[in-house]
Symmetry: C2
């Protein structure tokens, strides 16, 4: 998962205008069930409840007959392909693999599986190193644990630079200093971790903010509340008003070390070398789209989605292998069980989410004209830990109450909660024009421990959790595609031009 920024195209030099909030930190709240009393026609309630047998069949199949299969498929996929970074053939190979899966394993016909082109950047991590000079008694240096930030430029010379470092705990603290105190130095942000939404601003804008004061590089404490000497990467952006200077994240441990030293009056000197760079040319990637065609209304859609790309560290098992896996598995499970709903269930594996939600933007641009035909759009990009239900951004009561009634059928797996939340990086634009949609709601407080790190591997994913998440995904997409009524759309808050 990445934040969204509201620019078009590649957004390489854009400033951040809008952050997607995770549902932990917003004004998210559980839907009040009493609000639905008398809101739905009794015949709709009766109809929804008539699908309990199908839902039970889906749950039983996933949790018993094919127990652990989603985790096994995810692990096999990420263990084969490794990280799937935007602009690499590795990502394209992984996309080809999933096209093959939908045709060969799910056995969808050629007209039901296609890809759609998306122009994407190729940012190269290159080599990066940073050293705190004279860190210990006797003049010993300390190499810092770090990762360059996506879209960062490298140091002007491939031989690196050495400069005094100045540590601050906030933008306010830095801006309160005269420029002369920052000029020519490396700014180190040792910002406290509040939550992702709040703290990620240092990663996103730290370099340009430091450059606005004359700094020559920015080093940011990794955006996490829990570190075991774990550097995190992620995207940064440049404000075109200021010079582009390198941006890297170091471990929380070493940002705090430098801060403590400075507090004691020690002068800090840092060597930084980075060959990170962005290729001039873009390359072509693809969104992967597979349809389980509806029996009665093939041109109406329930869209389920996750993103297939990942950062270039770790294996992208959590972010967003898990979301992709429950999405591709949903089609397989429904096909295996012979459950063919009235509307089409469309699986979208978005590309290039991590580098600016490019796949999500391209899909929206191409398909927004058919927004009226989208019954519901769902995305999973906040982890596939123990599922609790769904989140939804929809505002009208009819849609909320249909969702609530549908979720009540997931009692056996304790996933009946409906959280009102505007979350969903790749699909947020659909919410803005009133299309009902939302995310998987799961118990994921550890999400940002692993986010964008080498620790994002299948080891952290639990097979039982993934089975339950798949059950939520398959059951709810099936029921919403099957019900006879259309879910009400909201009035568009940001109308399509």
């Amino acid at each position: 998962m990445k934040f969204a920024f509201a620019t078009t195209c590649l957004g390489l030099v854009s400033t951040v205008t809008g952050l997607i909030l995770t549902y932990h930190q917003t004004d998210a709240h559980l839907h009040d069930k009493t609000l639905c009393e008398g809101k739905l026609d009794p015949s709709i309630v009766k109809e929804i409840r008539s699908y309990q047998a199908d839902v039970d069949k889906i749950i039983n199949h996933i949790l018993t007959t094919e127990k652990g299969e989603t985790w096994r498929q995810l692990a096999a996929f990420v263990d084969k392909h490794g990280p799937r970074f935007t602009g690499t053939t590795d990502l394209e190979n992984a996309i080809d693999d999933r096209v093959k899966y939908f045709t060969d394993v799910v056995q969808l016909g050629p007209s039901q599986v296609h890809t759609e082109y998306v122009e994407v950047p190729r940012w190269n991590r290159g080599e990066t190193e940073a050293v705190l000079l004279n860190a210990w008694e006797g003049g010993r240096n300390k190499t810092l644990g770090l990762l360059s930030l996506g879209y960062s430029v490298g140091t002007p010379s491939a031989n690196g630079l050495t400069a005094e470092a100045i540590v601050v705990r906030s933008f306010d603290e830095m801006h309160a200093k005269p420029d002369s105190e920052i000029q020519g130095k490396i700014v180190v942000y040792n910002q406290p971790y509040v939550n992702y939404e709040t703290t990620v601003k240092y990663r996103l804008m730290g370099a340009s903010q430091a450059a606005s004061k004359g700094a020559i590089a920015a080093i940011v404490r990794s955006v996490t509340g829990h570190s075991l000497y774990t550097p995190h990467t992620g995207m940064m952006t440049y404000d075109s008003k200021f010079p582009k200077i390198p941006g890297v994240c170091i471990t929380a441990e070493e940002a705090d070390l430098m801060w403590r030293k400075q507090q004691r009056g020690e002068k800090l000197r840092v060597f930084l070398r980075s060959t990170a760079h962005l290729d001039e040319k873009t390359v072509t990637s693809r969104n992967t789209i597979a349809d389980l065609r509806g029996t009665e209304k093939p041109n109406e859609f329930v869209v389920i989605s996750g993103h297939i790309d990942s950062w270039d560290v770790g294996q992208g098992a959590m972010d967003d292998g898990g979301g992709a896996a429950i999405t591709w598995r949903t089609l397989q499970v429904l096909r295996t069980l012979g459950l063919a709903p009235r509307r089409t269930i469309r699986s979208v594996l978005f590309t290039a989410e991590e580098v600016g939600i490019l796949g999500g933007e391209a899909y929206f641009a191409k398909h927004k004209k058919s927004a009226a035909d989208v019954q519901y759009i769902m995305e999973s990009d906040y982890g596939t830990f123990t599922p609790l239900g769904l989140t939804t951004a929809v505002k009208n009561d009819q849609a909320r109450c249909v969702l609530q009634e549908a979720l009540s059928m997931l009692k056996s797996i304790n996933a009946t909660a409906l959280l009102i939340s505007n979350s969903g990086p790749d699909i947020k634009q659909w919410f803005d024009i009133g299309v009902p949609g939302g995310s998987l709601y799961n118990n994921n407080p550890r999400y940002f421990d692993y986010h964008h790190t080498n620790a994002d591997t299948p080891l952290l994913m639990l097979p039982d959790d993934m089975d339950r998440a798949t059950a939520v995904w398959a059951s709810m997409s099936y029921v919403l595609a099957q019900i006879s009524v259309r879910m009400d759309h909201d009035a568009p808050s940001d109308p399509v031009q």
Copy 2:
């Protein structure tokens, strides 16, 4: 903290004959307070309770007047000296620093501060790298996160070696295979983490066990229940019956990756290069001893201790900077408050614990003849997280009941528990000859997350916890040094020769 092995001298080629258990995993149990009913003379109980005012003075001073001071001193110390590895001048500089602290800050006279020589090895980590070849689709390699193990030899060539790797989950699984399946290969242990005591055997003996089957190197999953792509180091031992082959720990994430690949029938090939080596010559280090001389019985001792050396990664803030800090701080606090007990309180900062408990062994060898004069011996090497009280290895009721009564004065900081446990790496030999002693009892389930890693820094230590731990240490050592009665010793289970 390190395991103990029951060899003398440097123990470089010894097999492991005894592991120190942490108090989480043993038959440790809370002392039953009812067992003390009527066991202590009422006059002793009355006397102990008369020290409540002194104890409150100590607690108030540490938690209020000098709030956060133990953490500040620890951070300043480890931020100045960094890792303090046995055999380095860095450790000796840190020892000089503490000698100066005891004389200049605590203001103990020259006759109250001294060091005692200990011959120690110099093991060199050198450079180490390991690569899983052809890890990902398209033939991409994956560099593994790792740390060499203490005492490991390097690869026969500094250019490294490349061999097939075979993953096992247990010694039993490996030994059940014919030698021909292991011969010439690299054994990778992907053992599940049960607890430190159980699982550390793979780190300790994995190389020699693999060598016994003809393997040419051993790669061990780091000994931890929680990884954020965090390699752990620690000591290993060689069994002289088998060839010495390199031993390294990799991250849990990558041990599991290799296991999953092998489970799917993939052949694994690994490149391993290590220049780790042990110097032929030993060097001299020192135990640091500072006495707050007793007013009435200067030749009777309450010994408090921690170890000053650390691994050569991270900063050794938890293991065992915390134990050392509460020990040095105890003397400072009592001096500042003018609290001079009847017996001597001796602070011992052991050297070379991590590489075989060498400082603890040297101290025991030198001082065991005065065992009868030791009133109580305490060590802190299991963390200085929220203190709960003390552990004790003593068996007799009188000593246990004196401890229980003394601990009851710590009610205001919720640290009144007495845990019966045989734990204490550097002081266990004293228990074996019946000297009453034990460890700080603290709430430390996260201890082995940080143990022997780059994440062992002041960031994980909480000032409030350290204040409370200091209060336990200072209060209990003061009371035990002050009480008029001698604590009963147990009959020696392992009599001194």
